[in-house]
């Protein structure tokens, strides 16, 4: 989602009408972290942006009936750029994924946590960071997190990747092929001290929930997503890829739906040919698919130098390619992988 869209969405949240002011007793969190308590006044529930700080002033009625006004610092005072690299190890079949994270110089806070979902994999992490991939319990696959842990653990200040800096070393290895997933990127922030819980059923409660749900910067990344069955099953992989294209890439607006439909039909035909054991036809269809993709991004075979800030804008000779470059690279990589395995089988 672009920053503009996110800002629009946020204003949509804040523009929701709130209840009328109500006289009551309550407490206010002051900007310096102190509290003024037992205030009797008119309270107007709602969320107000503080333009000077970028924080939100949230006024709500807590469960005990008293009012509270707290400061909510969003985790989005950051300017992240996330670049993905992936390559297959020749002998092991393992795919290595590496990420470079940059926090733009306009950011006000360090980046301190990244979260996404992968099918399988073992993460590694940069110094002073941790990486964990654990079953989510609800969503299939693993919930992958990298988070910053300061040196002085017992007096930790909100640290992480400072504005203007970049960091490599976020990596994961997997036997699964790449797909695209949204990585939630969080900035450091002050912990909100809720003065009693708000009622989520209330208007302001819903607004707070919406605010919290969007409280990260979402960026796409290539992650382990397409399982490679053992024994190798080209039809299964092609079907997974088709599903990913149809359900995920279109929803993420990383490809034009009509273009996705064209690719989808070819993928379906290739999967059907693979199911029949018609390897020659599968390879021909894969070639067609890669041709379609390369028409949008001719340079996807080139090794990324990792220094371009936004590779999604690098479609050569096209002002608006029909597929995002990262998505194109992922699809091409996966198709090339299948083709190589089929070729190896034939040999």
């Amino acid at each position: 989602m672009s920053k503009l869209m996110r800002i629009t969405a946020l204003f949509a949240i804040l523009s929701v009408g709130t209840a009328e002011a109500e006289v009551g007793i309550g407490a206010i969190e002051n900007p310096d972290g102190t509290y003024t308590e037992e205030i009797i006044q008119d309270w107007q529930e709602g969320i107000t942006p503080d333009v000077s700080t970028g924080d939100y002033i949230i006024t709500y009625k807590s469960e005990d009936g008293s009012f509270a006004q707290v400061i909510f610092e969003p985790a989005t005072k950051i300017d992240p750029i996330l670049k993905s690299k992936f390559k297959a190890e020749r002998n092991t079949g393992v795919v290595s994924y590496e990420y470079k994270l940059k926090n733009g110089s306009k950011a006000k806070r360090p980046i301190n946590q990244l979260i996404t979902y992968v099918s399988t994999g073992s993460p590694t992490h940069p110094s002073e960071w941790h990486g964990l991939a654990i079953p989510d319990g609800v969503i299939p696959g693993l919930r992958l997190s990298w988070f910053h842990v300061g040196k002085d653990i017992f007096n930790e200040k909100p640290g992480g990747l400072l504005p203007g800096r970049n960091l490599r070393g976020f990596a994961i290895e997997s036997h699964d092929l790449p797909g695209i997933a949204i990585v939630e990127i969080y900035g450091a922030r002050r912990t909100t001290a809720w003065l009693g819980l708000y009622d989520v059923a209330s208007t302001v409660g819903q607004q707070i929930e919406d605010l919290k749900k969007r409280d990260f910067i979402p960026l796409p990344a290539a992650v382990p997503k397409i399982p490679v069955p053992a024994p190798f099953d080209a039809a299964a992989i092609l079907n997974s890829l088709n599903k990913h294209l149809d359900e995920d890439l279109v929803a993420m607006k990383l490809t034009d739906p009509v273009f996705a439909g064209q690719l989808g039909r070819l993928l379906g035909s290739a999967a059907e040919a693979a199911r029949r054991g018609d390897t020659e036809n599968v390879r021909r269809l894969i070639k067609d698919l890669r041709h379609h993709i390369k028409k949008e991004h001719e340079d996807i075979d080139e090794e990324e130098d990792g220094d371009k800030d936004d590779e999604r804008e690098s479609g050569k000779g096209k002002t608006s390619p029909l597929i995002d470059k990262l998505a194109a690279r992922v699809l091409d990589f996966d198709l090339k992988y299948i083709d190589k395995r089929l070729k190896k089988q034939d040999d």
Binding site: A27, S62, D64, S145, F147, V149, T192, A193, L197
Partner: protein, 436 residues
């Protein structure tokens, strides 16, 4: 009075054992009885007690009670039998019941009064027989027999010896009542598909008035405290008539607290026994968080002896969270002086629902109703998350997909700093929807 007098030639002293015999010599106006309801008829002293009147169709005393019938009898008897000398009623009692089954009879069962021919009928009649002590002016005790005739409802049969307290004849009815559709429902939700059904000989009995009641079973649902003020489930119907299928459908709306509710159904206009069924109100599938070296369980009270129940996924997440938190702190160098582990306070009761920490059946302890949220100590008490580790804890919470709220309870606008804790939504917003 429409009941033809019943002739009783038995000696007054033979009453109880003669019940059945009396029944056979009772003449009843069948067409009238066929229309009669099972309601109590007036008490009657038949004309055979009137010396000067041989007309068996005459009733000499009628009243709503035996005594009243006897008093009227004295008045009537004296009016046409001056020699009767009846003066005073000083006692009436109920020696017993008699009955006879319906059928065609045209014989003169008494041989005395030229009884009319009985009409065909298929109804059953129960007769309650009493005696009254009436004093004659001579001082001699006279005991007229007093009758009360009750027609049993269509298709029913009288009891061999109905209870004097129950003149309705239906004690031995073959009506039966059943309840169906029971199961479990979540707090605040509606359980549909409940039915009460009345049958007679396993066939639907339409038009039967039924009554239902509902009650919560004390100390159920994980609440070990008093039941005063406990909200009960509500039925959509409490009384009504069965339909053509003999059934009446209704719903049960569960209250916010979990617990078992017993629904009882009875017939209003006849005896059909009673049926009961239990609705289990609560969240299914909650499992207890067992003790572990990775965390400490706190907050158990006599009022709520099981305060650490969670859904499978929530339990998995908090277990991982606790293990990650403690595991990390154990690996750092130099290691902390104390074994820092999460102190896990209230999650949910064994079946969820309102977690009324103040035993009030209300929910100041919000979001602890579905086994998806848990409180973690974060104040100055032993084992609390130190202020310096709040960031670490929050990051680990995010790692497992939980949403931590650092909660400083406010009561009446005043901060209760000593009660601060992390309220952790283990499954996101889902955990925050609790019924009031």
């Amino acid at each position: 009075m429409t009941i033809i007098p019943m002739i009783a030639r038995k000696p007054a002293s033979v009453y109880f054992l003669g019940v059945l015999i009396f029944a056979t010599i009772i003449l009843v106006s069948i067409p009238v009885l066929a229309r009669a309801s099972p309601a109590v008829k007036p008490w009657v002293i038949p004309s055979t007690m009137c010396k000067a009147n041989n007309n068996c169709t005459e009733v000499c005393g009628v009243g709503n009670t035996m005594t009243e019938a006897a008093q009227n009898y004295i008045q009537n008897a004296n009016s046409f039998d001056t020699s009767s000398g009846l003066t005073e009623v000083f006692g009436c009692g109920t020696p017993g019941w008699g009955y006879f089954l319906g059928g065609r009879r045209n014989d003169d069962i008494s041989g005395k009064c030229g009884l009319p021919v009985l009409q065909p009928y298929d109804k059953s009649v129960a007769v309650r027989i009493g005696l009254c002590d009436i004093r004659r002016s001579s001082g001699h005790l006279f005991q007229p027999q007093v009758y009360q005739v009750v027609q049993c409802p269509p298709g029913s049969v009288p009891l061999p010896l109905p209870s004097p307290d129950n003149p309705s004849c239906s004690g031995a009815e073959t009506y039966s009542i059943t309840l169906s559709g029971f199961g479990s429902t979540e707090p605040g939700a509606i359980l549909n598909g409940l039915r009460v059904k009345v049958s007679k000989d396993n066939r639907p009995a339409p038009g039967v008035q039924v009554q239902m009641t509902v009650d919560a079973i004390a100390r159920s649902g994980g609440h070990g405290h008093h039941d005063a003020g406990r909200p009960k489930g509500a039925l959509s119907i409490y009384t009504g008539a069965t339909g053509t299928d003999g059934a009446l459908a209704f719903t049960f709306t569960a209250p916010a607290p979990a617990g078992d509710h017993v629904i009882t159904a009875r017939c209003v206009d006849r005896d059909c026994g009673q049926a009961t069924g239990t609705v289990e109100v609560g969240i299914k599938g909650l499992v207890p968080l067992n003790a572990s070296p990775e965390y400490e369980l706190i907050g158990t009270t006599n009022s709520h002896p099981g305060n650490h129940y969670l859904s499978d996924t929530a339990l998995y997440r908090v277990t991982i969270l606790a293990a990650l938190y403690r595991g990390y702190l154990q690996r750092i160098q130099p290691p902390p002086a104390e074994d820092l582990k999460l102190h896990l306070n209230d999650a949910s009761l064994e079946r969820g629902g309102v977690f009324d920490i103040r035993d009030t059946w209300t929910r100041p302890h919000a979001e602890h109703c579905k086994g998806t949220a848990i409180d973690v100590r974060a104040n100055d008490a032993p084992g609390a998350i130190p202020g310096g580790l709040r960031n670490l804890f929050e990051k680990y919470a995010h790692v497992v997909g939980a949403d931590p709220y650092w909660d400083i309870p406010f009561v009446k606008g005043k901060r209760r700093w000593e009660l601060r804790h992390y309220h952790v939504r283990l499954l996101g917003q889902e955990s925050s929807t609790c019924p009031n």
